[in-house]
Subunit: 362 residues, 2 copies
């Protein structure tokens, strides 16, 4: 507990000031620091089963009056995300497309079909209206592609220097069919791990847009709405156990979350994880591991082994699942850990990053 | 349309550069500039009946599978708000209480009982964690009072100087009973206009917290969750036509919105509009009109005349409706206008403010 600090006008403080813990960029990384902040600051006061489950969104029950006196219970999947990506535009997308796809995907990863989104804008004084117009047009294109409707909006303006162009919160929800039970805790020993395509594209595209690569790549962000892909998978199998999009913290962080939530181990085959050559070489030059780079149009699925081929086939027939591959399997031990069989034949632990790798990537 | 600007390195531009319209603080005022921005930038691409209605949130239909093959349709009310109030703490509340109450109230004003909220945080690097803890504790207290549950959250961190401590988006929803038809377009000639209590408290409390008053008042913000008040009103009458909370832009802006949406005129009795003496004198010294100052715990109701006494009695039995009074009535003409019978006996037009009166009040 902080002690009272006496007023010491003009004096050098004779005793060390109590440490006042501050928010660091790493608290927004999606890695260990984020989880530490969430578990210390947000979960204790807000504690409830939905939030505590640690999935991409919450599942809630609502009661609908079918006829006077007759109530029907249904489930909704809800997810919220604030988008602060910088710069606002990058190859393959922009903050508007990201804001729609990010929330569409989080709702989809719970097994629900996203229906409605809200959009809350925080605009910085001085932002050019033409930029806002471009972002809004991009949101509408992405919303039309996903088939979602924006039903409520809000606009706030803050003084110059109190934001960075614009920030967008989107919150989405969809109806969860009664049969669907998908969540990070449902991975089982023997399940197959499927990845929908190449990793690292989004993060490298944003880095290039910042001019931080020092060289040019042909990499575009993969930002895309995955709800139609998920619906195709749900039609193909009733044995989808986990769906998750590997955004902040990348594939490594997502798989660790699944291993921890389900108290299983995930064993990956390094040779099977698709990485575009340009992404691989950018990562090599920068000292990054593509396993930790954010994606915005990819998903990981954990599926019963008997259905894995069916699911894979269904995925490959969709626009954003063409590159789907099996990358590993779920094992009993070591529980909570992700292991990787490297191309050299050794096995290494794939850990969660502690702090920030790439800030403001989404 | 902007013309291409040629590169003019080192030269003084020989022709006037095309005007590039920028976002101004007034675009976040809730007044005419806000509405102009919304109608030009957001409504055309996002156009749909729910958003176009211009209410505090959207109403959407969902289909719930009651039994295999049997689908029941229900309505949900949804609303989103980003909160950027500065300073974070003020007499009577803080950004956390405001973030919960603002969205609880917007959902309530559609006639729905808010059930679930999401919370998206944008944190500035360097923010003290102890401040975040206080804000989160305040959110939980307000959520418990309102009886809502926070089911999904998100945390982003931006660099120092790219936010102002913290911003909070909350999005909420509730089930809308089949019989409820409440909205700004439903005011009818002869209806009675009820206000739940004094106006201007929130705005003046925030101004005082900024040290901008130059004198001390005893004014606390009225920020409060109004859902229980609304439920009491709904139990008392099935003839509530409009409910709205007069936040940004104050009572004057809210009543103008109702008059315009319903194509009616609202005639107010100035002598009946309750203003605390301290708020009245602060406004007088600053040259403000309390009619334009934000409230965060008040509502306006437009009710059938035969039910107005019942509604008033029900309101006065609740914590946040004790000071409820009738302040005016709905007339046919001049359509879209708000008029006020002053204490001196004259009648004046109550207009909508154009730009910003008090920035970042919510």
């Amino acid at each position: 507990m902080d002690q009272e600090i006496p007023a010491l006008e003009g004096l050098v403080c004779p005793v060390p000031l109590p440490h006042r813990e501050q928010i660091l960029m790493g608290h927004g990384s999606g890695g260990k620091m984020s989880r530490d902040l969430i578990s210390r600051v947000f979960l204790p006061p807000f504690d409830n089963p939905s939030l505590g489950a640690g999935d991409d969104g919450g599942v809630v029950e609502v009661e609908i009056e079918a006829q006077p006196g007759e109530v029907v219970k249904g489930r909704l999947a809800i997810s919220t995300d604030s988008h602060v990506v910088w710069p606002l535009f990058f190859a393959g997308g922009d903050i508007g497309r990201l804001a729609i796809c990010g929330t569409v995907n989080d709702v989809s990863m719970m097994g629900a079909m996203p229906l409605y989104l809200t959009a809350g804008f925080i605009l910085e004084e001085g932002l050019e209206v033409s930029i806002l117009n471009q972002v809004v047009a991009s949101m509408q294109t992405a919303a039309a592609e996903a088939g979602v409707i924006i039903v409520s909006g809000d606009t706030k303006v803050v003084q110059k220097g109190k934001a960075d162009g614009l920030y967008i919160n989107t919150t989405g929800f969809g109806v969860l069919p009664p049969a669907v039970q998908i969540g990070g805790a449902h991975a089982r020993t023997g399940d197959v791990v499927i990845l929908s395509g190449t990793i690292g594209d989004h993060g490298i595209a944003v880095l290039e847009a910042r001019g931080e690569l020092g060289f040019e790549t042909q990499i575009s962000s993969d930002v895309a709405p995955l709800n139609h892909l998920v619906q195709a998978m749900l039609r193909a199998s009733q044995n989808l156990h986990v769906l998750r999009d590997p955004t902040r913290g990348g594939l490594a962080t997502t798989l660790n979350e699944i291993a921890q939530q389900s108290k299983t181990s995930i064993l990956l085959q390094e040779s099977r994880i698709p990485v575009k050559p340009a992404v691989a070489s950018a990562c090599e030059m920068l000292g990054f591991d593509p396993m930790y780079i954010a994606n915005e149009g990819k998903l990981v699925a954990v599926v019963s082994p008997e259905d894995s081929e069916k699911v894979l086939q269904a995925m490959r027939l969709t626009r954003y699942g063409e590159g789907a591959v099996i990358i590993g399997e779920v094992q009993a031990a070591p529980a909570g850990r992700v292991l990787m069989k490297t191309t050299l034949g050794s096995t290494r632990i794939v850990d969660i990053p502690s702090g920030e790798i790439l800030p403001r990537i989404c």
